[in-house]
């Protein structure tokens, strides 16, 4: 049953700043997803999403031997988003990643925001974006693009995971990036093929579940832009970074993002300190508190929005 999955980052591997930034992004996206699904779906959809989340969780246990002891397996973000719609897909994947971390320590708690972003949000947005592009077209075109989308989604998740680890000073980019992308290029093929095969099966047995009107209703053209842009960013960054990590490092340095490879690589608060307090422990702790406060404000703002929509 055991297969190393290098996408579930454990606690301790990301610095607090990288963790908090991705928590902030994740909270905004999940908050949006909650309010959208509350508005468009009835209470009927909640058991559906819950059982679908359990389905994704269980389906991740499906594997098929490829060669040499490696086996392909399944993340499911693209499939969930294509069949259930992007917002519901994000919620389903969020619950899956959350329960894996909470119940089975498969991924950490403080870094859960980053894990949800990589495996839930990225895969759902890219997977759905690509499928939305060809919805209603010929079957063969649809399935091909769905497969490509699933592959790119897996690669993007691997890429962003590597970048997060690198920004945290946990790893050297020139080592982790080719390794991660190499492994996930294979895993992604498995993901793509299973996604396509599952879509074929569902179209044959329950065509009512993925007809074009339904897909269009679940997400507008904007998803195409979002998904393709994210994929494009990944495609542009990965060869640049893997062939020339120094180049990426230089860009990051020029942007003031990275202090020439020293320790934890962040410059959101210069050198992790409050400037006028100088380089003292107090200043570092205060910088940490500022980061926590920023995330708290995000939570409160999103929460307000949610409580408004939930009461309606």
């Amino acid at each position: 049953m055991y297969a190393p999955v290098y996408l579930h980052i454990p606690d301790g591997f990301l610095t607090i700043f990288v963790s908090l930034i991705f928590w902030a992004i994740t909270i905004i996206m999940v908050g949006l997803a909650v309010s959208k699904t509350n508005r468009t779906l009835g209470e009927r959809q909640i058991p559906l999403m819950g059982v679908m989340a359990a389905f994704i969780f269980a389906a991740q246990m499906l594997n098929f031997p490829i060669a040499g002891g490696t086996s392909g397996h399944f993340l499911g973000g693209a499939l969930a988003a294509i069949v259930l719609g992007p917002w519901a897909g994000i919620l389903v994947m969020t619950s899956v990643v959350g329960v894996q971390a909470l119940l089975f320590q498969d991924g950490g708690l403080l870094v859960m925001g980053a894990n949800i972003f990589n495996m839930g949000i990225l895969t759902a947005v890219i997977g759905f974006g690509f499928y939305r592009l060809v919805v209603g077209r010929k079957r063969i075109l649809r399935l091909t693009v769905a497969g490509i989308g699933a592959w790119i989604a897996t690669m993007a998740a691997a890429l962003v995971t590597s970048l997060q680890l690198w920004l945290s000073g946990t790893t050297r980019l020139e080592i982790v990036l080719p390794a991660m992308l190499g492994v996930h290029a294979l895993i992604g093929i498995g993901e793509a093929l299973i996604t396509v095969a599952a879509l074929v099966y569902i179209e044959q047995t329950r065509p009512d579940l993925i007809n074009p009107e339904r897909t269009i209703e679940e997400g507008g053209k904007g998803w195409v832009v979002g998904g393709v842009l994210l994929a494009l960013a990944a495609v542009l960054i990965s060869p640049l970074a893997s062939s020339n990590p120094d180049g990426l490092e230089r860009v990051a340095e020029n942007l003031g993002f990275l202090s020439s490879g020293v320790g934890p690589n962040y410059r959101f608060l210069p050198d992790y300190t409050i400037p006028f307090l100088g380089d003292t422990p107090l200043s570092t702790i205060l910088a940490g508190i500022v980061g926590v406060l920023v995330v708290l404000v995000v939570i409160i703002l999103v929460g307000r929005r949610l409580s408004k929509t939930e009461k309606v």
């Binding site: 269980a58 119940l103 599952a198 929460g303």
Partner: protein, 264 residues
């Protein structure tokens, strides 16, 4: 997928088990946050955190080494952090010439690697203790008290409820595939790669439709029993004096650990 599919909760009547789940969630998250905040190489503070962990293990009646047993789950990820040893900052310790590449471990790099591994090891143990002493429905209820959106907590509750049911279904399907692919010893069994992929895809698709239809039946059954959109609980979860005591004691201890870590 590395999951041993059993409920991680161990039922006992210890003081930790009886704490309000909110307190346990907050203390566990604060402990993990504290590990992340400690600077590299603050060995004394890491040791103190470990002692706290041992004490919590002991108080939970699960035994001193309980969390140790499962704590190696994050170990494969160490491979990712190994490259930190060869960080360009710090003094070179030695040179390993592998022929095609020269590896130079540095002291700063080694300290960083060890600190990352310690943080991860301590944090994962606290998470293990949290789910070993708290029933999952209580945990979800605590998250609801901590203002996680209802939609999300309800989805998670359903996920937990049907996780084991659907996993059993997966095992059945996998067993069926194995039975159909039986072969003679020494003879390759099953079809070629494209056959395998098609079979796996059909399995995923079939599981999907089965789950979908099951969720429909579940919904009908729940509506007929008065379901209105969220799950109720008979356990009100009230914070008592002991809960507040533990919460404030944990806060004080974590601040102390941070002080030990940062002042040297």
């Amino acid at each position: 997928m590395h999951v041993d599919l059993t409920d991680q909760y161990h039922h006992l009547d210890s003081r930790i088990h009886e704490l309000d789940p909110r307190v346990k969630v907050l203390v566990a998250v604060a402990f993990i946050l504290s590990n992340a905040l400690l600077p590299d190489g603050s060995w004394i503070a890491f040791a103190l955190s470990w002692l706290i962990l041992l004490a919590a293990n002991e108080l939970s009646d699960l035994g001193l080494g309980f969390t140790l047993k499962r704590s190696l789950i994050a170990l494969p990820f160490a491979l990712v952090a190994v490259s930190a040893i060869f960080s360009p900052i710090g003094e070179p310790l030695t040179v390993w010439d592998l022929g095609f590449v020269k590896l130079i471990p540095t002291d700063a790099g080694l300290i960083r690697f060890l600190s990352i591994m310690l943080r991860s090891w301590l944090s994962v143990q606290m998470a293990i203790l949290l789910v070993a002493t708290t029933q999952f429905p209580d945990l979800i209820h605590a998250l609801e008290h901590l203002h996680l959106p209802r939609t999300l907590t309800t989805i998670i509750a359903f996920l937990f409820r049907y996780l084991f049911v659907l996993s059993n279904e997966v095992f059945r399907v996998l067993r069926a595939r194995e039975a159909r692919s039986a072969g003679l010893p020494g003879v390759k069994s099953g079809g070629n790669l494209s056959w395998r992929i098609k079979t796996t895809g059909s399995m995923a698709g079939q599981l999907f439709t089965r789950s979908y239809e099951r969720s429909d039946r579940i919904y009908q059954a729940m509506v007929s029993r008065g379901y209105t959109g969220h799950i109720r609980t008979l356990n009100p979860h009230k914070m008592v004096r002991e809960d507040w005591l533990v919460l404030s004691a944990a806060a004080v201890i974590i601040v102390l650990i941070q002080l030990v870590g940062w002042i040297r």
